[in-house]
């Protein structure tokens, strides 16, 4: 029996690539946000249809909404159970969610205005998802800023370089 390590660090890193690669980590966020946005848009268009729809059209709406919800569920499972979201991932995910929320709000509000029905629910839904996304963005930036501060303390650097993702200017020296 060989007592030497069979699994080298490099092999292990290869096996861990789904959690080590930032783009792979963000796949779950893309599925979650895209699925939710699609489901909200489809559901909103379906609900504000002025006339009764044919059976096949209703079926198509239902299938599309279900497919979007399935993607959202898969994304939620990935994000909560399979892949970690590190500080930079959270910032990117937050902005992605905010952009998708605003785009979804615009779509459902325009549809509601054109059809003259369901404006209040559309505005309420848009406000809620946008507010939630904005809170996530702020929290992600706060957490990342705290970690960057700690990193600077540990590396003993004085004035930090400007970080475009922080949205704040670095403190000025004398």
């Amino acid at each position: 029996m060989n007592d030497e390590p069979n699994l080298s660090a490099e092999e292990l890193i290869g096996r861990l690539s789904p959690v080590l690669s930032p783009w792979r980590r963000l796949r779950g966020v893309a599925a979650l946000v895209g699925g939710l946005a699609g489901a909200v848009c489809a559901g909103s268009l379906w609900a504000t249809e002025p006339a009764a729809l044919p059976g096949r059209t209703r079926l198509a709406f239902a299938v599309f909404t279900l497919v979007c919800l399935a993607w959202a569920g898969y994304g939620a499972w990935l994000v909560t159970r399979r892949t970690p979201l590190l500080a930079l991932d959270r910032v990117i995910a937050g902005w992605f969610a905010l952009a998708a929320s605003i785009a979804t709000t615009v779509v459902i509000v325009v549809a509601a205005v054109q059809r003259g029905a369901g404006l209040a629910p559309a505005l309420a839904t848009g406000a809620v998802v946008t507010a939630v996304s904005a809170v996530l963005v702020v929290r992600a930036h706060v957490r990342r800023a705290a970690l960057l501060r700690r990193k600077r303390e540990l590396t003993g650097r004085g004035a930090p370089p400007a970080d475009p993702l922080d949205g704040t200017d670095p403190p000025r020296g004398r």
Partner: protein
Amino acid sequence: MTDELLIVRCQLGEHDALTELVRCWHEPVRTYVRGMLGVQRADDVTQEVWLAVIRGLPRLREPGRFAPWLFTIARRAVTDRLRQEYGVAEAGAHQEPVIEDAADVMVERAVLIAALSRLPVREREVLVLFYLEDLSLEDCAEICAVPAGTVKSRLNRARRLLRDHLTEKGSKR
């Protein structure tokens, strides 16, 4: 670079830091898992440990206390594996596989590993953490979720059992 800095960089999401973390701590984790479960199952469980570690990194609030946190996760993975295989963690402790063919490895090392694998799980655990991983009594106590005094008594018992096994082995030669 300190462990804390490396962990902070990992929590920030720096890919280089994550791979460096795995490179730095792969061997200690594998040594612990191998000491607890034997060579055959070390790779699978080591990979499970690393998946749990990386998934848990965003929730680690004290980056300076990485080592005890890491070995707490490793211990949980080892305990889960033992429970799966034996029903209860300690039931199969005396049935642990021993090194069957020591011809390929240094004899002394094989004897030591074989003797280690015959120790009860609790004693083996503190021996591996304290001597092989070089952790402090306090860290061992935190990882095992027992008072430091209990770790000391388990260490004493582990040393005595190990000495008995090695003496027995020596007298049979």
